[in-house]
Each structure stands twice: as C-alpha cells, then as structure tokens.
C-alpha cells in the first residue's frame, strides 16, 4: 500500500527546499537580475552546512554558514552582471560551474563522515491534532518547513504592500524611473541578488541537514536548483504560485520513490516493482513535468500578457535609451 499521508508529509518537507530557492530567485529576478546559478549555490550551501555540522557539531551554525557561503557566491554574479554588464545567462552558468566545482573540492571526503547532529524535528502541539492536515503539515517536521509556511505570505506581502517591495518592483520594471526618483538601482540589485543567494544557501543546507541528510556531491541537489528556476517562470514571479509548485514537486519526488516499493498498485501488479528499470521513466518524471509546467505557464503568459519583470536580464546604465 502507498501511504499518501507520508508522501504528502515528506513532500512538504522536500518542497520547502524548492520553495526557499524559488522565492530567492523571485526576489533576484524581481529586481531585474536573473541568476541561473541556483543549483551551484544550493550545492555550496549544502556542502557548507554539512561540513560545519561535521566539524563543530552545530547544525544551526551550519545553516548560517551555508547562507553566507551561497550569498558570497551570488555576489560574484552580482558584480559581473550588474557592474560589468555581462550576459546574465552566461554569468549564471559560470556561478553554477564554480558552485559545483568548489563544493566538490571542499566537500571531498565529506560523504564518509560519521553521524552528525541534524536539525531537530518538531510536532506542533494543537495543530497536529487536525485530521489529515495535522499529520501532513504539523507533525515531525524540521523547523525549516515551518519557516517555509511563513515565508510565502511574508514574501508576497513584502513585494506588494511595503515600501522596499515597491522599490524592488520599480527597479525590475523600470530602473530608469526608479533611479530618477532617487532609488539606488545598483544597491538594490546587489541586495536582492544576495538575498537570492542566501535563500538558495538555506535551501541547500536544509537538504543536507534535514530533508535528505548527508553529502552526495552533485547528487545532493540533483537538478533541484534548475527545477526551482523553472518554478519561478511557471509562478510568474508570484510567491503563492511558487509555493504551490514547490510542494507539488516535493510530493512528486517522494511519490516516485514510494511507487517502486509495493508489489501491487491500485490492485494491479506494480510494473515498477517487477521491472525495476521502468523506474528510470519515473526518474524522468519531475524533469518532464518541469517542461510541461513551463509550457502551460508560457501559454498562460501569452494569453494574459503577463511576463517577466520588464528589465529582467538587462543591465542598467544611467542615461542610456530604453528601460
């Protein structure tokens, strides 16, 4: 039998990782800077967090360092794409390669480390008693999951109902207008790229210290950074939609693992149990699904004529034509 409650519960936990990364990327892209280095930044975060936990046995400090390390990496992207006006696609890819390579170099031997302290799990006293939702949302989750619940509305509110959020949107839509009104376009863009990096680092740390503990070099993230970027496009830069997508993909990850276990599926012989290599098709599923949601998102965007922040990917040069 498939335990749907367990799948959804695990999905919420691993969806949190995607949520952090996606909201971080939303922040950066809303300010006009696309950072394709999410995967690399997550790996740096995951490695740093785990390494710190192994060395000083302090998972919380590990998370802090993970955020810092990924944030610093994102600043490289900020310098090159904001000040040097480099192509943001290529710069993001470079961040990715640096992140992967660096985490492999610095994470050498880490996979053989012994037991480390991970993030604790918490069951919320009253809320966990709610039928169905209680076990899924409020039972045995690590603190990051609860943080994720708060992050989505907070991010939406920040973007749409606060002064800094107003400035953030202005800088991404029409930097010249923001500049003329005395908003420091460069400083804000640096800030939000850094914030994106910090959140990607947090996402990485959450993987290695809570969701699937350990360091497995590239396989630690296995493309989740890219899925997060796909989610941002699908979400049309809206944190709520990003959250929905993130939790869905989180649940899917767990479902794929669980589908291969039982001998029967819905009363039929489980093909994935009897022919394990069919499991490779299950492994393709999240990636194929990203393509599918991008397709759906693009059609929707075409119809509703909503799009990326107008200045996304365009370096701002004061006094130049256009945005």
């Amino acid at each position: 039998m498939i335990d749907w409650i367990a799948i959804l519960q695990a999905g919420i936990a691993s969806g949190t990782v995607l949520l952090f990364a996606a909201i971080g990327e939303i922040m950066a892209e809303r300010s006009g800077v696309m950072n394709l280095g999410v995967e690399g930044m997550m790996l740096i975060g995951a490695m740093t967090a785990y390494r710190t936990a192994v060395t000083i046995d302090q998972p919380w400090v590990g998370l802090l360092f993970a955020m810092l390390a990924a944030g610093i990496l994102s600043l490289l992207h900020a310098v090159v794409s904001i000040h040097f006006q480099a192509d943001q696609v290529v710069s993001g890819l470079a961040i990715n390669f640096v992140g992967i390579g660096l985490s492999m170099v610095l994470g050498e031997g880490l996979s053989k480390a012994g037991a480390v302290s991970l993030l604790p799990t918490i069951t919320v006293p009253l809320l966990s008693q709610i039928p169905v939702l209680g076990p899924i949302l409020f039972t045995n989750h690590n603190p990051m999951t609860y943080l994720g619940y708060a992050l989505t509305p907070a991010a939406w509110f920040y973007i749409h109902r606060t002064r800094p959020g107003l400035h953030l949107r202005a800088v991404g839509e029409h930097p010249a207008a923001a500049d003329a009104m005395g908003i420091n376009v460069y400083r804000l863009r640096y800030g939000y790229v850094f914030a994106g990096g910090v959140l990607a680092g947090l996402a990485g740390g959450t993987i290695s210290l809570a969701v699937s503990p350990g360091w497995f070099s590239e396989l630690t993230t296995s493309g989740q950074g890219w899925i997060a970027i796909g989610l941002v496009i699908f979400a049309q830069w809206n944190p709520w939609r990003a959250a929905a997508g993130a939790y869905m993909f989180g649940a899917l990850r767990r479902l794929i693992l669980d589908l291969q276990g039982p001998q029967t599926l819905l009363g039929f012989a489980n093909p994935f149990f009897y022919t394990p290599r069919l499991g490779f098709f299950l492994q393709m599923l999240p990636y194929a699904l990203v393509i599918l949601i991008l397709f759906i998102g693009s059609r929707e965007a075409m119809k509703k004529r909503v799009g990326a922040p107008a200045a996304l990917g365009v370096p701002y040069i004061r006094g130049e034509r256009g945005t």
Binding site: L36, G40, L76, V79, V80, H83, F84, Q85, A86, D87, V89, V90, S91, L93, A94, I95, N96, F97, V98, G99, I100, G101, L102, S103, M104, V105, L106, G107, E108, G109, N184, Y186, R187, S217, G223, W226, I229, G230, I233, T275, R277, L278, F280, F281, Q283, M284, Y287, A288, V290, I291, L294, F295, S298, R299, A301, M302, I317, R318, G319, E320
Partner: protein
C-alpha cells in the same frame, strides 16, 4: 544623448577620496587583437584564483598545476589522450558556439550527446544493421543515427521555444536529465550485457579508425588511441565558420542574435530558424556522442561523458564563439580533463572550468570599456 556613464562608485557618497581617479569610458572601437588577449589574460587570472582556492583547501597549487601540464602535454602518449578527450569537446563546443550566435541558450548539449550515443548504439545493438555490416556502411549509418537523435533532442526544446516561447534554458537542461535516464533504461535492460550496467562491446566494424590501427604501417602509431572523431571536429569547425560568416543563413542567425526585432522587420522567420538551429546544434552534439561511443568507449554505458556537454558551453564562450578558436580551447580543456582524472580532490577540473568561465565573462568588460587610472 550619445553618452553613457558608468560611475566607478555608483553607491555614491563623498568623504574619503581615492588617490587615483579611475575613468571608465565606453570603448568605441575594439582592436582586433584585444579579444584574444583578454581570453588569454582571463585564463591566467583564472589559474591564479584557482591556485589560491587550492592553497586554501590545503593543496599545493604549483604542484597540482605542474602535474596538470605534465599529465596533459608531457609526452606523446598523454598528449594522445588529451586529444582523445578534446575530440568530443570540439564538437560540443561548436554546437554551443553556433546556437549562442543566435542567443539561443542550448544548455542541452550533454543530453544531445547522450542521445547521439544512444542512436549510434542502436544501429549496432537494436540492431538496425546486421553485426557484420562492413564498416564503410556501418560507420556512416551510426553517424547518421547519432546526428538524427541529437537533432531530435534539440528540436523538442527548439519547437517549444519557437511555437510557445518556452524558455529554452530550462527545457534543454531538463532534457539532459531525461536523456541520461533514457540511456540508463536501455543499458540496464534491453541492451544490458548479461545483467551488467553496460551494453556488449561493439564489433570492430563499428569502431572508428584509430591511429594505433595503422601501427603495422607506421610503427610510431602503436598505442595511440586518437580516432577519426577529431577529424569530425576539424571538418565541422570549417562548416560552422562557413555558416556563420559566409552564408545567408549565418547572417540571419547573427541578425536574430543581435536584434530579434530587426530580424523580424527584415522578414527573417525566427520560429523556423530557431527550430533549424536547435536541430543543427543538437545534431553536432549528437555526432560528438556517436564519435565517443564508436571511437573510445565501443559500447553504450551510463558513464560516457565527462561532463562534455557543459564543458562545451565554457569552451564556446572562452573561444568567443569563433569556431577555430573552439578547436584550440578544446585541446586545452581536453588536457584539463585528462590530467584532472588522477587529481585529488576530484572536483578540481570542474572548479577550474567554472573559474575560467567566470574570469572570461568578467574580462569582457574590458571589451566594452576603456579603463584609465590617473593620479588625482
């Protein structure tokens, strides 16, 4: 106004004054030698930065670099190995360079490489041709199959981009993961050699000719595994050069890459060109997969790519999308991969590649701006 400004200190603020004034002006013309100089300079800076990181990580950068050079270019044997590694890199680098000309971000060369390898293998393993087909027929069929499968793998994101404006960066990347799973599905099952995670060895008539095959005639060739795949790279580089700088299609590609709106205005069919270019780019990457399978591995298995597809992106950029420079840079990166195999920690080549790409794009600022430092 014609002017544009980049303040050296956009954050503003007075107070402490830097003793030198740095003036940054847009460069109006670029001397022909400058891009090459910047590429070489960036490479140098990258190795210095990489060295610092290695030293911090507890290694001895000089020893590591010395080892890299020796293990990549030290003697004819290792240089042979370097060129073997460079062969797929050339093709993949050219595939990326061609697509990037149109600002089409084909990040999927890795997947197209896998599909190319799979298609070529299918000719032998399915089998499409009988095992004892003469090489003269077998090899071209494998090439064709490899190119076709790579092209198809490129066409899918190309089609989605052209018709529905689906972001090709993400789709090509997702296609990589799907391609790997696809190949694994076959080597774990249908084509598995008695349960091992690899296909049986191809017959000799499905092997690309290697130098060592001619050792009987030229004894110096003994043991040299360099195969005909490197010729594919050289030929394709000429073809890509001709397409981009001499053909009408190349002109349209460059026009789209520089200004899509102007291309549309000039009557260029962007959707058609997007699909076509993704197919050609994917086909070239597929050919790389075929060459690797038929020239080096001689069987299909999960581990056939040393991250070639991603390295191709870096190569294309370092070569400034120049197809001949791709050849040179590929040899360099071939050496890095070849020599990096024995280096601990194993991530060093990957990290160096990333730092190189980063330095190259950071260096590009010198192409756009002239920076002068004068004493106040």
């Amino acid at each position: 106004m014609t002017g544009q400004e980049m303040s050296a200190n956009p954050v503003g603020g007075q107070g402490w004054q830097f003793p030198f004034s740095i003036s940054i002006e847009p460069r109006l013309t670029v001397p022909k030698w400058l891009p090459a100089l910047i590429s070489v300079g960036s490479l140098g800076v990258a190795f210095v930065i990489g060295g610092i990181v290695l030293a911090v990580a507890g290694g001895n950068p000089l020893a590591i670099y010395a080892h890299l050079i020796r293990a990549a270019f030290g003697d004819i044997g290792v240089f042979n190995d370097t060129l073997v590694k460079a062969s797929p890199l050339m093709l993949v680098g050219l595939a990326c360079a061609l697509a990037f000309r149109m600002k089409l971000w084909n990040i999927g060369a890795e997947g197209q490489f896998f599909l190319g390898a799979w298609g070529a293998s299918a000719v032998v393993l399915a089998p499409i041709l009988p095992r004892d087909t003469p090489a003269i027929l077998m090899i071209p069929t494998m090439m064709l199959a490899g190119v076709a499968c790579g092209a198809l793998w490129g066409l899918i994101p190309g089609f989605l981009k052209a018709k529905f404006n689906v972001n090709e960066i993400i789709t090509t990347l997702m296609m990589n993961y799907i391609a790997v799973s696809w190949v694994l599905f076959w080597v774990f099952g249908e084509w598995s050699e008695s349960g091992f995670q690899m296909s049986p060895m191809f017959p000799r008539n499905a092997w690309l000719p290697r130098l060592t095959d001619y050792a009987a005639q030229i004894p110096q060739f003994a043991g040299l595994t360099l195969h005909a795949g490197i010729l594919f790279g050289l030929i394709v580089s000429v073809v890509v050069w001709f397409i981009t700088s001499r053909s009408r299609w190349g002109y349209e590609i460059r026009l789209i890459g520089d200004n899509k709106e102007a291309a549309r205005y000039a009557g260029v069919d962007i959707a058609r060109n997007t699909m076509l270019l993704m197919m050609v780019s994917g086909g070239i990457a597929g050919l790389a997969g075929m060459a690797e399978i038929a020239g080096v591995v001689h069987r299909l298995q999960g581990a056939i790519s040393n991250n070639y597809g991603f390295t191709g992106i870096i190569i294309a950029w370092l070569a400034k999308l120049n197809p001949f420079a791709v050849i040179l840079v590929s040899v360099l990166f071939g050496g890095l991969i070849q020599a990096g195999r024995e280096i601990q920690p194993s991530g060093v080549p990957r990290m160096l590649q990333g730092i190189i790409l980063f330095c190259v794009i950071a260096g590009d600022v010198l192409l756009r701006y002239r920076i002068q430092i004068t004493r106040r």
